[in-house]
């Protein structure tokens, strides 16, 4: 190479550039988080958390949105966990190689790749209109379940497959049936990994907006049943910001949402740490 710059110099220059890139990424993140927190913290008072909004949210608090988000997550969790873990158990423990299994796995992959707004559209047409659930906690929660189901299936399947096969053999050799082996040995051994995955899945669902816009509704009243509409916190934030209702309230809502996501992620990490060494109680 007939370069004017010596290899040693370009090596050093390149490394500086890599350090700069990494720093830019981290600083961007810190700036975004810092900005939100600095702007939002003053808004965070007990009454902000515990009051209902007034004047479309320009004043008052965000309690109904917090409750709405909580209800949605509950429906999502209760539907996604049994189906997702069941599917993972089938794929990891029961499925034989073949066309059916390939189609099933392909379906999981596909669902994971579908944009959330398309899931929202589908939720609207299928859950809200066709099944008649209307704009409701039920519709929104199920639509969110569609979104995180592939994630839960995948994480659970991986955790199950990581269980040493010697444990399965030992159980079979003691005269246990397939299901006894799966439910008493394999599943308990995989539970820490699965739990972490489920929690992270909820972390994804909690900030999701496009899926629930046309399924959960946007009511700011306290829900009283599964069929009541709710406005989840991220949607509330979107409305506050995009309709120019109140930037101040939007910052406050952002901080609350961020804290929720953070707590969820930390919980996942804590569980992973705690169960680093496997020990299951019967």
């Amino acid at each position: 190479m007939t370069s004017l710059i010596s290899p040693a110099t370009s090596d050093r220059a390149a490394k500086v550039m890599l350090w700069v890139s990494a720093s830019i990424s981290i600083l961007t993140l810190l700036f975004i988080l810092g900005y939100i927190v600095v702007q939002g913290l003053p808004v965070l008072t007990l009454s902000f958390l515990l009051e209902s909004p007034r004047l479309s949210g320009a004043e008052g608090g965000i309690l109904p949105a917090i409750v709405g988000t909580f209800c949605l997550m509950l429906v999502t969790l209760l539907s996604a966990v049994p189906i997702g873990i069941g599917a993972a158990i089938y794929l990891a423990e029961y499925a034989h190689e073949g066309a059916v299994t390939r189609i099933i796995s392909f379906g999981v992959e596909c669902l994971a790749g579908i944009p959330s707004i398309v899931i929202g559209l589908f939720g609207y047409a299928f859950l809200a209109i066709y099944l008649g659930f209307g704009f409701s906690i039920l519709s929104g929660g199920l639509a969110l379940m569609f979104m995180i189901l592939p994630w839960i299936v995948r994480v659970s399947e991986e955790s199950l497959k990581a269980v040493p096969s010697g444990l399965r053999e030992a159980s079979f050799a003691l005269g246990a049936t397939k299901w006894q082996t799966v439910s008493r040995v394999v599943l308990p051994t995989a539970i820490p990994g699965i739990t972490t995955g489920v929690i992270l899945g909820i972390g994804k669902a909690i900030g999701e907006t496009a899926v629930i816009m046309f399924t959960a509704g946007s009511s700011l009243l306290m829900p009283t049943s599964l069929f009541d509409p709710v406005r989840a916190l991220p949607y509330h934030l979107y409305i506050l910001a995009s309709e120019g209702i109140s930037d101040k309230m939007a910052y406050g809502s952002s901080v609350v949402l961020l804290v929720m996501v953070l707590v969820i992620n930390l919980a996942a990490v804590a569980i992973q740490r705690h169960y680093g060494r496997h020990h299951v109680r019967n």
């Binding site: 444990l167 399965r168 053999e169 050799a173 019967n282």
Partner: protein, 252 residues
């Protein structure tokens, strides 16, 4: 001469298109120890896994011929593999305790078979741990995780776990190969005690071990049964040249 407990007749086994066992015919007597020896890959594990139908779990595994246990062909239509495995227990090469407490490990089998009574379970756990010579070491730490035990203790726990199901036969697949000499000696002692109550089949790579613990020995080579007879006779006066070569370590 004691009664025949397990008998294989013209047993062939294929993994896919590869034949792993060829025309195995041999009889294992009740309450005796039968050792199976042979070079790596000759089908020892494959054979003893036939006895409790563990090979059912391997797909593409095909078996022909008969394997009689107490006179019935275990590959017959009416035999339930799950029921069969209650009577024929197995201890594996690598200790594989469940990631649960010591107590739960031993109680696993009885619980799976429907036993709920706590006192009864306590009794079985204690008996089994005593029978596997582990009670003195773990009797007061039954709530500890089984994972915390040493390798030798884990293997004896696996034996206790098998005993708790009250089988008639126990299959050992190289139970000492992952253990140190002291733990190995303990397990050999244990086998010598257990043979008063159980029919035992043990796969081993250790010639001295086979000679020490077994009453009968079978020598396998390339999926075939080369020679089967009284251990003393196999080790002192083998009929086949290949058996002698293997036993004296001149195999090659």
């Amino acid at each position: 001469m004691s009664e025949i407990e397990i008998e294989s007749r013209n047993l062939d086994l294929w993994y896919g298109s590869a034949q792993a066992l060829k025309e195995i015919t041999m009889a294992m007597p009740e309450k005796k120890v039968t050792a199976i020896i042979g070079p790596s890959g000759c089908g020892k594990s494959t054979f003893i896994r036939c006895i409790n139908r563990m090979n059912d779990l391997v797909k593409d595994c095909r078996i022909t011929g008969e394997l009689l246990f107490e006179g019935t062909n275990i590959y017959g239509n009416s035999v339930d593999a799950v029921e069969l495995r209650k009577k024929i227990g197995m201890v594996f090469q690598k200790p594989n305790p469940f990631p649960m407490s010591i107590y739960d490990n031993v109680a696993y089998g009885p619980r799976v078979h429907g036993l709920r009574n706590r006192e009864e379970l306590d009794r079985i756990v204690e008996e089994s741990l005593k029978a596997s010579a582990l009670w003195n070491e773990v009797g007061d730490i039954l709530d500890r995780s089984a994972i915390d035990l040493s390798g030798g203790q884990q293997q004896r726990l696996c034996i206790a776990r098998t005993l708790a199901v009250k089988p008639k036969v126990i299959l050992f697949d190289e139970p000492c190969s992952a253990l140190d000499p002291i733990s190995t000696a303990k397990i050999e002692d244990l086998i010598n005690t257990l043979k008063h109550d159980y029919t035992i089949v043990i796969v081993t790579h250790n010639m001295q071990q086979a000679a020490r613990v077994s009453d009968h020995t079978a020598f396998f080579l390339l999926g075939e049964l080369v020679e089967f007879g009284k251990t003393k006779q196999i080790f002192e006066l083998p009929e086949k040249k290949s058996t002698e070569d293997y036993i004296t370590g001149r195999f090659g």
